[in-house]
Symmetry: C2
Subunit: 373 residues, 2 copies
């Protein structure tokens, strides 16, 4: 069978073991490690596709199955010709499975072996998602990479519950694989769970690898546990994943976590952070966070980041962006979103270079000193 | 004295008397009649300057003195090097005087011969604006065209009050002229008032023309009176204005009013309408209004306007824009703002051609049939 998603390993950093590679997709190649901007509702908040291509140089973006299932509904997107056409994005797309969102609903959802019953956060209407239903939705949406339906347990969770849940997630992954109708066009990734328990992580990884997916995600990390524990579990987990398949750490987007993930052999990360903090008036820069909403920037006629060459930093002062954020003007959110996404793109570009130079550990230390971690 | 703002008359439409001309400003030439997008808080809502130039082809935009005086404060904009530099816009800018906003505050303001005391709509703090203070603010902001401080009376108002107010506005216009510190760089326009009373309009126009401003606005129209009355008063008023100076009808932005204004010899109009209705999910098109927020467009995979060549119409369907508006995504507002502003630019381009062809009346009738007026 033709595989829509393949991974090409180019180099392993001698200092860290980090992987420099390329993911081949039906909508273009992706240099890895890569940060993927999130477009929850079929739009990366405030951005056009052209800005994502030209300013951010994004090669792949995410969209959320749960949100698109509720609005506008996957059938409308299918009628539109799929997500790429619907949102006018001709590069790669990855959709999550909705698992994380559904389980975040807390008392609004009920889990059984069959699937999850939940009430919409929008109107309280009842819905049921099963592995089969999620595959149908993701097949309709038509992303390049689709995630299996999993359960992401809370932190902390008991060993007993985490084990039960992880084993169910594996059974669901198998059902997903069987229900997936377009395996030659869309790559289905399995998601390793197992909470904070190493033996469960190992079992989850091995069982999923047995199912032979074209890629693997590590889920259920960065959910509130200390950074050291996250790093330890990530390092422990990736050793069980195949070297010739891409590895995706879900929901990670702070600069330090991105670097730590790369060091532990991760190829892909995503997070809403850069666009979310943009809406709150915060920029990530090569000299640390700049809360441009703060009054201290009212008369600051310098740019956000002297080392940045993005549209925002080429054209606008902190004083102007401060004014836009204070007056709730959309352009303020736009300018900060462009900058923050560009910053992460440039950070990952740098990470890739440092891997090629076998120098990622040195870079991490320098970066932490400078960025203030 | 060198005049920063001059008007060149190119042609008068034989069918209507409409004027085709050019306004020369320190920041470029403006083909007239022109529609000016409004950037109340030093940003045309949701748009970058590049989009205004490339997509909308705007040659001049407005900003609001009242809003900028309150936030960020005109001194900060002066320190930034003026409004053009602050907001990264190198074409022409016109600022209103804040009069309209202050008088709209109703019980929050008190008018005397000296000026107006008012409470900020933001925090209730007390402020005082006089003609001299407004000139100081507009000199600090540094637009190409600045408006004199006037009072715009409500509709309806008594003859007695309107007369008093109009005469005060004329006295204020004189004080503005005397207080204006940069007459070689910024053109100060007088504003004709006089409510719905022809003799007061005539007196106002004649008294202001006596003061010899480089341009004149007609204020206090389109404030709730019937369209026929607006047209009648406008036609009556413009006859008293000099032929060699630009004429600006304040606050008008519906397609039919723009055409009627041109027919009555108006060169410039402005309105928040195109960006405001964008935020409510409405598009102006060559076939009338399209309320794309309505459910009927959920599955409409055609573009907003088959006759439009804007970025939005080249790339997106009504179904996608509908989805973005329903989910309150910023991109939806952006796409509709681009389209609506472009539509008005193209409408005025067409109006200029029809003036040159002595055909504006025929065009108006065709347009009304098609647009549904």
């Amino acid at each position: 069978m033709k595989q829509p998603i393949t991974y090409e390993l180019l180099h392993i950093c001698k200092q860290t073991g980090a992987r420099r590679g390329i993911i081949h997709t039906p909508h273009g190649d992706i240099d890895t490690p890569v940060f993927m901007p999130v477009g929850t509702q079929a739009t990366v908040k405030s951005m056009t596709p052209e800005e994502l291509k030209e300013e951010v140089e994004a090669k792949i973006i995410l969209a959320n199955t749960y949100h698109l299932y509720l609005r506008p509904g996957e059938k409308i997107i299918k009628e539109a010709g799929g997500l790429h056409k619907f949102m006018n994005w001709d590069r790669a797309i990855l959709t999550d499975s909705g698992g994380f969102q559904v389980f975040s609903l807390g008392p609004l959802r009920k889990i059984t072996e069959e699937g999850v019953e939940f009430k919409s956060h929008l109107d309280g209407s009842k819905h049921f998602l099963s592995p089969e239903k999620v595959m149908e939705i993701e097949n309709d949406l038509g992303p390049d990479i689709m995630m299996a339906f999993d359960e992401c347990v809370e932190y902390p969770s008991t060993y007993e519950y985490t084990k039960q849940s992880m084993e169910r997630t594996t059974r669901w992954a198998k059902r997903c694989k069987e229900a997936h109708k377009r395996p030659e066009e869309q790559g289905l990734f399995g998601i390793v769970q197992g909470g904070m328990y190493k033996d469960l992580r190992e079992q989850s990884a091995k069982d999923l690898v047995e199912l032979d997916f074209p890629g693997y995600a590590v889920g259920g990390l960065s959910v509130g546990e200390p950074k050291e524990l996250m790093c330890e579990l990530l390092e422990f987990t990736t050793q069980f994943l195949p070297k010739d398949k891409p590895r995706y750490l879900m929901g990670v987007g702070t600069p330090d976590y991105l670097i730590e993930a790369a060091i532990r052999g991760i190829d892909m990360c995503d997070c809403v952070l850069p666009t979310r903090i943009a809406r709150n008036g915060t920029a990530m820069t090569w000299n640390g966070k700049v809360v441009v909403r703060n009054a201290v920037y009212e008369r600051d006629f310098t740019t956000l980041d002297a080392e940045c060459d993005c549209y925002t930093c080429k054209n606008y002062t902190k004083a102007y962006i401060h004014h836009l954020i204070k007056t709730k003007e959309i352009l303020g959110v736009r300018l900060l979103s462009i900058h923050n996404l560009r910053f992460l793109t440039k950070l990952m570009e740098r990470v890739r270079i440092e891997i090629e130079n076998d120098n990622l550990l040195n870079f991490r230390n320098e970066f932490y000193n400078k960025y203030g971690y």
